[in-house]
């Protein structure tokens, strides 16, 4: 019998709270607010007189404005660069790396302005994928918070000559004694060479790298490098708290690898098996086949148990029965997989990492799932050295500190001590090379801002043997200077960094240097290595036996345990001042704008907390954070989770005072900073709503719109994995499209469509940001998200599912099944579904528009014409997928949105807008256009070359940015296109339309998710 789990979008739906029912029944949050001055509440209804006044004024203004057309200027280049043609986009290969994840990118520029980032398909590491954070980073180039010139004491308006600053600094450095350069991980070999040259000039210079979310223990257990994991080779993956698809080390790289062995088709009916043991519900955990919620205190014990099973050693069985069973199962499967097994661990405890390394060695996976020749270099931070440095600074032993894109006052647990030392002038010379006046930079004497990476030349070596380059794609916007050049200047080297970089590449490119260099700049990537041996970590390593006994003898922990984690969007917080990232819904909690305390439902019930109640979290060190509660299904019992990256003080107007900073809560364990500790949690009585999107735009309460099945069933009979709706007709049960009121369209030219593989979608949100950048989608801010008025054209629906199945009613009885369904939120399965305009062939929106502003095109697109729309919102009301968005405000000119959507307000920020897409005005409806501007461009290019468009030439922004290629876009009229082939292959197997029964005939098809679980849906409970 077909399993039919019940899906629910959140706790509210499950509990059927009055608010949820109200929201589900009404399409729009509240009535139209004519009066906008009152910032947060829209309860004020404008009186009639105001309306008339506005109307009269508007009429008068329109009349006046129409008297004379404004004189517009057309300003051509004085000397046009040869490769720039107005109206034609240029793409330049470059590299994004800000100390978090590495991405090889292509930068799209128009008239010399970067407007969008796309993945570089040439890269063997990221293979054309791009993370949400990298997508959004184009906005940081135009951030008005950037320092615009060299200055002193954080004075933005001081007009100080740069040469004078250089002179002062050089003099001060000469007599500084001990000098420290503090930076996050630097993977640029030439930058390191420049720093080494600086150190050669000023003896006593020490370069300290630290990572805000450190992997120091992993490095210590693996000889100073991150092992070269290859998830694509693995048939069994066991992850202990490593969110490798979302935030851990190099998520895009890992996601592209991971998905190669997760896709299924009629040709390949195998997939890897993925165990996840974790505390918070992470993106990776929600994709796992078997997910077990464990407390942080059980984490080490679980690793030890697996070590005992696989490597040998005796230990008592785990007390947690479910965990024990899962570990046994994982051990058995790993043993069977042998060298095709892979164990990863996200903990920063060196004992755990040592055991994991030993397990991997025992599996013999070196050469298969771990490439020993290509270790990853994207984490090199050393917690111990950073701690030593901060202590030395506090004691006044350091003569000069240079912060190079590092912000330890904010993102280091000892930030407060450092802040006091800097304020107390314990260091003679403090220099910040940070691009903004952030928490650390504002405390320094000299601010010598670095270029943005899109304004700089640089090289990168993310994995040994794999090089990549970044090149400037815009003339520096401000009077900044590339940090490497600054260091070289101070060291007395007059060379430009460009020449310096070329010189250091002479070794790898060999023979024809100019030819090789041109190719490397063009491709953005190259092979070869420029990095020396990795520096050993300062902290001691451990033997496996010592590690085992250290874990076994760890003291028992009582009370509530706190697990600090990173979110997919904001990450470690260094790019928090990016409104796109702040408004990107967290893949799992679907919360935007700020962090919160995730608690399991049982704890909330016990403590009588409701979602949004503010609690005070106090950790052992007396650090306090007051944050609202979010009930998170899948959170381990007796634990809470809080995200890093929020609570910035001096990031800029977007990020300041959003959420609370929990870096101070991290603790030192075995020489590494870990985010797991114990905490007291107390109610404060206050309430603070969380801006969640999860229950917005609730899909009709009908049949599930997502479908899933198991690998076993898929193997047995692929025709049975998807349940197709049938409707009753006089001739019996028929497919819904057999009966229709409407005439079908005939597509002669193109018929655009999309296939979204739910098995490949990991829910990372890259497409959401890609769409936002491409289509000039406005940011609306926290209050408007709470008002259910977010503007994202594309959202990723996340459904939790309960374990109850139809068969339960027969076997367990009705009452017992209903009772079980009421409490399924301890460790639910998760399924992600990208939801966007389905471009229905029988679109319900088209028939209700009174002014024909939304119509059907001869190529299958559901067209939205903004200039015709009068804003009745009938279409949104009639849309069964809830994908239409209404412009309640002028998001580009209403002062209420200046903080969050500021880039649309200034000439500087507007440079990021896509000139081919209209910025929508207030009062019109908008929605996914299937990137019609890209379709039109692709067709035009083909016509110019007198041929038909080739498949793959035209891709939408979402399909382009997907790291796992879950979205395939193409012409369904072309029988040879990828989408046609997929739909032919999957017809009757996995392909289905959401809400098929209502017969709107979408042009977007979904492919059923397949889980690699046993058919009876095993479900370990935490």
């Amino acid at each position: 019998m077909q399993e039919s789990p019940k899906y629910w979008k959140g706790i509210e739906e499950l509990e059927n709270s009055p608010e949820f029912v109200h929201n589900a029944l009404s399409e729009f949050g509240s009535f139209m607010p004519v009066k906008e001055r009152h910032a947060s509440t829209d309860e004020t209804v404008a009186p009639r007189r105001d309306f008339l006044k506005l109307m009269g004024f508007g009429l008068a203004a329109a009349t006046l404005a129409s008297c004379e057309a404004p004189v517009r200027k057309a300003i051509p280049y004085l000397n046009k660069p040869e490769e720039v043609d107005p109206g034609i986009a240029n793409f330049y290969a470059s590299t994004y790396f800000t100390g978090q994840d590495y991405n090889a990118v292509l930068i799209k520029t128009r008239e010399g302005r970067p407007i969008k980032l796309e993945g570089n398909p040439e890269s063997p590491i990221t293979r054309g994928g791009l993370s949400a954070r990298a997508q959004a980073s184009v906005l940081s180039l135009y951030d008005s918070e950037r320092l615009q010139a060299f200055t002193k004491n954080g004075d933005r308006n001081a007009k100080i000559d740069r040469d004078q600053i250089d002179q002062e600094i050089r003099t001060a450095l000469a007599s500084a004694g001990r000098i420290a350069i503090v930076s996050p991980t630097i993977i640029s070999p030439t930058t390191k060479r420049a720093i080494a040259e600086f150190a050669g000039r000023f003896a006593g210079t020490e370069h300290v790298m630290y990572d805000a979310h450190s992997a120091s223990a992993l490095l210590r257990a693996n000889g100073g490098v991150v092992p070269g994991y290859d998830f694509g080779q693995a048939s069994v993956i066991v992850s202990f708290g490593a969110d490798f698809l979302g935030t851990w080390i190099s998520p895009v790289e890992y996601a592209t690898q991971y998905i190669t062995n997760r896709k299924v088709s009629s040709d390949k009916k195998t997939m890897s098996r993925h165990f996840q043991f974790e505390t918070n519900m992470s993106l990776t955990g929600s994709n796992a086949d078997v997910r077990v919620a464990v407390k942080p205190s059980e984490h080490g014990k679980a690793v030890l148990a697996l070590y005992n099973k696989l490597v040998g050693g005796s230990g008592a069985a785990l007390q947690n029965q479910a965990l024990n069973e899962a570990i046994n199962k994982a051990a058995a499967e790993l043993r069977a997989a042998g060298s095709r097994g892979l164990v990863v661990c996200g903990s920063n405890d060196v004992a755990e990492q040592t055991l994991v390394a030993a397990i991997n060695a025992a599996l013999g996976n070196s050469g298969t799932t771990i490439n020993p020749n290509a270790p990853s270099l994207v984490r090199q931070g050393d917690d111990q050295r950073m701690l030593n440095l901060i202590n030395a600074i506090g004691q006044g032993q350091v003569g000069a500190v240079i912060f190079y894109n590092a912000n330890p006052v904010y993102d280091h647990p000892m930030g407060d001590q450092l802040k006091q030392a800097l304020q107390g002038k314990k260091v003679g010379l403090t220099i910040s090379l940070n691009p903004t006046l952030d928490e650390t930079g504002s405390l320094c004497t000299y601010q010598c801002p670095d270029h943005h990476w899109m304004e700089s030349w640089n090289d990168y070596e993310p994995k040994r043997g794999f090089l990549s380059l970044s090149q400037p794609v815009i003339t520096p916007l401000f009077k900044t200077r590339q940090a490497q050049e600054t260091l070289l200047t101070w060291a007395g080297n007059p060379n430009t960094y460009y020449n310096y970089l070329r010189n250091s590449w002479r070794g790898v490119l060999g023979g024809n240097f100019q030819g090789g260099w041109d190719k490397a700049v063009h491709d953005g990537v190259a092979t070869g290595t420029l990095s020396g041996a990795s520096a050993a970590q300062a902290g001691p390593t451990m033997s496996a036996d010592a590690a085992a006994s250290a874990i076994a003898s760890a003291p028992a922990v009582s009370g509530i345990e706190l697990m600090i984690y990173e979110k997919v969007g904001v990450g470690n917080g260094c790019e928090a001042n990016n409104p796109w990232l702040q408004e990107l819904p967290d893949p799992v909690s679907k919360a935007t704008w700020g962090n919160y305390v995730t608690v399991p439902r049982a704890m909330a019930v016990e403590q009588k907390w409701e979602q949004g109640d503010v609690v005070r979290v106090t950790t052992g060190k007396g650090k306090i954070a007051e944050l609202p509660v979010l009930i998170q299904p899948g959170q381990a019992q007796g634990t809470i989770g809080i995200a890093l990256g929020y609570g910035r003080e001096k990031a800029g107007k977007v990020a300041d005072k959003v959420g609370a900073n929990v870096y101070p809560m991290m603790v030192l364990r075995n020489g590494g900073l870990v985010g797991a500790t114990t905490a007291q949690v107390a109610s404060t009585g206050a309430r603070q709503p969380i801006a969640q999107t999860q229950t917005h735009h609730t899909i009709m309460d009908r049949k599930p719109v997502v479908q899933e099945s198991t690998l076993a069933q898929y193997r047995e009979n692929p025709k049975e994995v998807t349940e197709y709706d049938k409707i009753a007709t006089p001739e019996g049960l028929e497919k819904p499209n057999k009966v229709s009121l409407w005439q079908d369209y005939e597509y002669k030219n193109h018929h655009w469509g999309m296939a979204i593989d739910l098995n490949s979608c990991i829910g990372c949100g890259s497409c959401v940001i890609g769409c936002q950048v491409e289509n000039n989608v406005a940011v609306v801010g926290k209050q408007e998200v709470i008002n259910r008025r977010e503007m994202h054209w594309m959202r990723i629906d996340r459904y939790y599912s309960s374990d109850a199945h139809k068969s339960d009613f027969e076997t367990k009885g009705k009452l017992a099944t209903y009772a079980a369904m009421e409490d399924p939120s301890d460790n639910p399965s998760v399924i992600f579904q990208p939801m966007l305009c389905q471009h229905c062939n029988h679109a319900p929106c088209e028939t209700v528009c009174p002014v024909l502003a939304t119509t059907h095109s001869s190529e299958g697109l559901n067209q939205m014409t903004y200039n015709r729309c009068v804003g009745t919102r009938y279409c949104a009301n009639n849309c069964p997928y809830k994908v239409r968005r209404f412009n309640w405000f002028s998001y580009y000119s209403n002062e209420k949105f200046e903080t969050v959507n500021g880039h649309m307000f200034t000439d500087l920020g507007r440079m990021v807008l896509n000139p081919d897409v209209t910025v929508r005005a207030r009062g019109v409806m908008e929605k996914c256009s299937m990137c019609v501007q890209r379709i039109q461009l692709g067709k035009l290019e083909a016509k110019k070359q007198k041929r038909r468009p080739k498949d793959g030439e035209i891709v939408t922004a979402c399909a382009q940015s997907c790291p796992t290629q879950a979205i395939v876009f193409g012409d369904m009229r072309d029988p040879e296109s990828r989408i046609s082939k997929i739909l032919r292959r999957e017809d009757g197997e996995r392909a289905f339309h959401a809400l098929d029964a209502i017969n709107v005939q979408p042009n977007i098809a979904y492919l059923t998710k397949i889980r690699n679980v046993e058919k009876s849906a095993e479900k370990p409970v935490a």
Binding site: Y866, N867, D916, K944
Partner: protein
């Protein structure tokens, strides 16, 4: 009696009104026919070009000449004309003056020929102020075809050199004369009508007066007749009468309504907009007299959405040598010196909500620049020729057949269209060219 006298007057008014309406409509139709003819010159210039080539060089290879024509306009026309000295010498008779191999060598690298001490080359170099002709990466065949074109165009009247311009010229001239002819005819009819009416009215008035006089002479009139005879038109009563006020009121309202609708429809319309530009650049001189191809300056018109305004370095290609003392050209030098780009006033302003792509129309559609921009080669100061309204766009999309010839993109579509309804033309709109999101997104 007054009713008799008033009726002719009202008839006369009605006749006058009808006549004016008819004339107005005719004129409007003429205007429409002009704009229609202006829209489809795509075929006419080609025909004219072929005709010109055919008559001037019956023995020549028409294809080579056509190719040479295009190459000449793209590469040579900035500095050379066939029959006139521009920057360089007139090219007429070049094939007789120099042998072909010499010409090829010269075009490919003139400075090399001069440096080799070739007597003719040195002479011509000195004669033209030691200005070097730039090198052109043309193939031998291409240079031969240019020479073939020069031969074909020798001695031809100036008009034959610019078939496109001429075609536009003639088609427009025809339209204008048509309109004028129709107008004259209508005027004559109108004058005759008016004269007849005046004569009628005068006659009627005379008859009425005579009748009155006759009646006055008689004494046997009864009271009613006397009343009629003595009756005076009560103008005040007419003025105060309800129906007149009603008619005037309605007319007034209608006129106001009409004017306001016309005014509103013209909001944002800037047809004929002809602002003064910072530099008095003349398209008439460059594109008209010197025959410089549009794409020489507007470099991206065939490949991009925008037909870019030329950058100052393009002006300098020629004006580093030509007319260097002109005060207008000195403005360009100044701009370059000061590193301040020239701020031209934009004439064609589409609203931001409409997407327009030049290359779609020029490269793919094969539309001439003049179709939308008007007789640009005759404009000293450019003005907005077309209305640039949505109605204007849509109309053209409805009427213009797609330029499908030789374009693989359309092959199957043409077949499908012909299978479905071979009679109807395969217009832009029948291929979805009037759908909203072709231009609005």
């Amino acid at each position: 009696m007054s009713s008799y006298r008033l009726r002719p007057f009202s008839h006369w008014l009605l006749a006058l009104f009808l006549t004016f309406t008819a004339v107005g409509q005719l004129a409007a139709q003429d205007a429409a026919s002009v704009s229609k003819e202006g829209v489809t010159p795509g075929a006419a210039p080609a025909g004219a070009a072929a005709a010109a080539a055919g008559t001037a060089a019956p023995a020549g290879d028409a294809a080579a000449i056509a190719a040479g024509d295009a190459l000449f306009k793209g590469n040579c026309a900035q500095c050379h004309a066939v029959n006139d000295v521009v920057v360089g010498p007139a090219l007429a008779g070049i094939d007789k003056r120099r042998p072909m191999p010499w010409i090829i060598k010269w075009v490919k690298n003139s400075s090399k020929v001069v440096a080799s001490g070739d007597e003719y080359a040195v002479k011509i170099f000195n004669e033209y102020q030691k200005q070097q002709m730039p090198s052109f990466a043309l193939s031998d065949a291409e240079i031969t075809s240019i020479v073939a074109y020069v031969k074909s165009a020798e001695g031809a009247p100036v008009a034959a050199k610019d078939p496109a311009g001429t075609a536009v010229d003639t088609s427009e001239g025809k339209g204008v004369s048509d309109a004028a002819g129709a107008g004259k005819y209508m005027n004559a009819v109108l004058i005759v009508l008016v004269v007849v009416l005046i004569v009628l009215v005068v006659t009627l008035v005379i008859i009425a007066n005579i009748m009155k006089d006759v009646l006055r002479g008689r004494k046997d009139l009864d009271g009613r007749d006397v009343e009629i005879l003595e009756q005076k038109t009560d103008w005040a009563a007419i003025l105060k009468s309800g129906w007149l006020r009603g008619v005037v009121g309605v007319l007034f309202v209608l006129v106001i309504l009409y004017e306001s609708i016309q005014g509103l429809m013209a909001v944002g319309l800037s047809q004929g907009y002809q602002p003064a530009q910072p530099i008095a650049f003349s398209h008439k001189l460059h594109a008209g007299e010197h025959q410089i191809n549009c794409a020489y300056c507007h470099t991206s018109v065939y490949k991009s959405k925008s037909a870019n305004i030329p950058s100052a370095n393009i002006c300098m290609n020629c004006h580093s040598q030509i007319k260097t003392t002109s005060p207008e050209i000195k403005k360009i030098y100044r701009a370059i010196q000061r590193q301040q780009p020239i701020q031209w006033v934009r004439i064609h302003n589409l609203p931001d909500l409409a997407y327009f792509n030049h290359s779609q129309h020029t490269q793919v559609g094969g539309i001439q620049c003049q179709t939308c921009h008007g007789p640009i080669e005759k404009m000293d100061v450019v003005y907005q020729y077309s209305a640039l309204t949505m109605g204007w766009c849509i109309n053209c999309h409805r009427e213009t057949p797609l330029n499908t010839k030789g374009n693989g993109y359309y092959d199957n579509l043409v077949k499908l269209h012909n299978d479905a309804n071979a009679g109807a033309p395969f217009t832009v709109s029948s291929n979805g060219g009037t759908e909203c999101s072709k231009c609005h997104y």
